[in-house]
Amino acid sequence: MTKQRGSTAFWIGAVAFLLAVLLATQLIGNEYPFFAGYVILQFIVLSVAWSILGGYAGYVNFGTSAFFGVGVYTAVFLVKATGAPLAVQIGVAAIVGALLGFAVGLLTLRMQGIFFSIATIALTIVIETSVTNWRYLGGAAGIQLQRPQVLPPFHSYVQMLFFVQALLVVLAVAIARYIQGSWIGRGLQALKDDELAAECTGVPTLRLKLLACVISGALMCAAGAPAAMYLQYADPGSAFNLNYSVSVLAMALIGGTAHWAGPVIGAVLLGVTQQLLAVTISSEVNVLVLGIMLVLFVVGAPEGLIGLIARLRPKRAEIGA
């Protein structure tokens, strides 16, 4: 009963969110709020996707930038080769991301803990270097892209991208929420606590890990694909920048990974802070604040904001459970 009621409330909230976004694109003429907001939405998708593997399963993926960059360059390739529309770019990016996720999932067969994390950084640099050496995609100097005509009912391309990214947010959160409540989430939780014990009690750990990697990878690549059109430019150095990995890691951990709302809260909070800092001070201070907050939370509040809130209201949490 409660689960169903929660579900209805969630979907009403999701539809209301999308309607509000749509309405805003129709009513607000200024492009800047969408330009800034797009980045925040993009980080919500990335950190929700990250925590499917990193939070539920406990595999710390430093390869967010690899998935993001592959998403960007899948879009670049499609635009250059076929002039494919945005929806196709995102769809194909999701498929490529799923395949890459599968490959990363196979890595978990042999490595855990820091070895897995290091391997994902290694993968990022190897892919980045390959793209850098791929002349067709512009090489190290990058590549300029021309935005096509915007589709109605939107007035500007940035507003359309904003709405598309909002759709991806809803999709990512819905998937994370479903996983959390289903046997998949419980299985991932079990293998996070003790992989061997989980395997022994009949949890299909390999299948679950592969599934988590595939879903997480597909979402991350899908979130990266529109960035090519957003910036109208792509270069390997920024598309594969490790800053994406550390930002997303920080957002998910600061929000808390035990619940799907954690990464959303973390991404909104840090995303807004970053936008403000980047405008008012500098992008270096921006990264500094991010790093300091990451360290402080990892040391002082390992459960993240979600954990802090739960600790402040222990009684209600018990009743809720």
Binding site: V60, G113, I114, A119, A122, T129, T132, N133, V246, L288
Partner: protein, 291 residues
């Protein structure tokens, strides 16, 4: 196009470069290889040491190697404090320590990177000394003198640390902790203090290593990212904690890098160490010379 001469050239330079890689990785070989600390910030500490050397050289005109020696005690203390912090917040609390430890060190690495940018800017920095810029000729081969200096100092440093770990009382204690912490505790020794000391040593050698880094080539604040690949490649390939293995693995990496560089060009350089690291992790995670 690819002649025997060129290959010989690449191998000689590769071996010299490899010994230098051993010097920058040997600290990680202790902290990660022996102590199991997920020290992703090791290359960031290294670059930080390079900037300290740059500062002393630029401001007071101190020889880079001497400057590296001067900052060694500071780094030692820094290492002691860093390990204590890590131990109190992660290792002692047990569960989940590895996952959060990685995130912690990753965050620390980024903080160091930004602080360097704020202090010194994003430009490349280099040091001046009489032996930088000259080169040494054997037949047709030209070997930069700075690489020879790095080679000599790096080899000495690596051998010294290996001797320290195998011959001295404290060194043996460190290896004992790595083998079986519980047994050390039962013998009445305090494993945490031994590990703290070891982490201090691992950080202290970064003084000389950082000096070599800036002698070999100019440094920039984000250079640590490339060295995540090189140092972890060397340490994992060596088999965690093997000192002789570290030297050999570093030479293999150095030779592989110079050969690929001569064959395919510099744009592939960043990927070599990371690709080798991936390969070793996937095929032989215990390393070539593993325990």
């Amino acid at each position: 196009m690819f002649s025997l001469d060129l290959l010989l050239d690449a191998v000689v330079i590769g071996v010299l470069l490899g010994c230098f890689y051993a010097a920058v990785s040997i600290g990680l070989s202790v902290s990660f290889g022996l102590l199991d600390v997920p020290h992703v910030a090791h290359p960031a500490f290294l670059v930080m040491a390079s900037y300290a050397v740059f500062f002393l050289n630029d401001r007071y005109d101190i020889d880079p190697l001497l400057a590296g020696l001067l900052i060694t005690p500071l780094l030692f203390v820094f290492g002691l404090v860093a390990y204590r912090l890590y131990y109190e917040t992660f290792e002692r609390r047990g569960s989940d320590a590895a996952v959060r430890g990685i995130a912690f060190f990753f965050g620390v690495a980024f903080i160091i990177e930004v602080l360097i940018i704020l202090q010194f800017g994003v430009d490349q920095r280099s040091v001046t000394a009489s032996y930088i810029g000259q080169s040494f000729r054997i037949g047709d081969m030209r070997i930069p003198f700075r690489l020879l200096v790095a080679f000599a100092v790096a080899t000495a440093l690596t051998i010294l640390l290996a001797l320290y770990l195998s011959r001295t009382f404290m060194g043996r204690a460190i290896r004992a902790v790595a083998q079986d912490e519980e047994a050390v505790r039962l013998m009445g020794a305090n494993p945490v203090r031994i590990k703290q000391w070891a982490f201090g040593i691992a950080t202290a050698v970064l003084g000389i290593a950082g000096a070599l880094l800036i002698i070999v080539a100019p440094v920039d604040p984000t250079l640590d990212r490339a060295y995540i690949g090189r140092t972890f490649c060397v340490v994992v390939m060596a088999g965690l904690g093997s000192m002789a293995g570290t030297l050999l693995a570093a030479i293999i990496l150095g030779v592989a890098e110079t050969i690929v560089l001569t064959l395919f060009g510099a744009s592939w350089a960043p990927a070599i160490s990371f690709a080798m690291l991936l390969g070793v992790l996937a095929v032989r995670p215990q390393g070539l010379f593993g325990r």
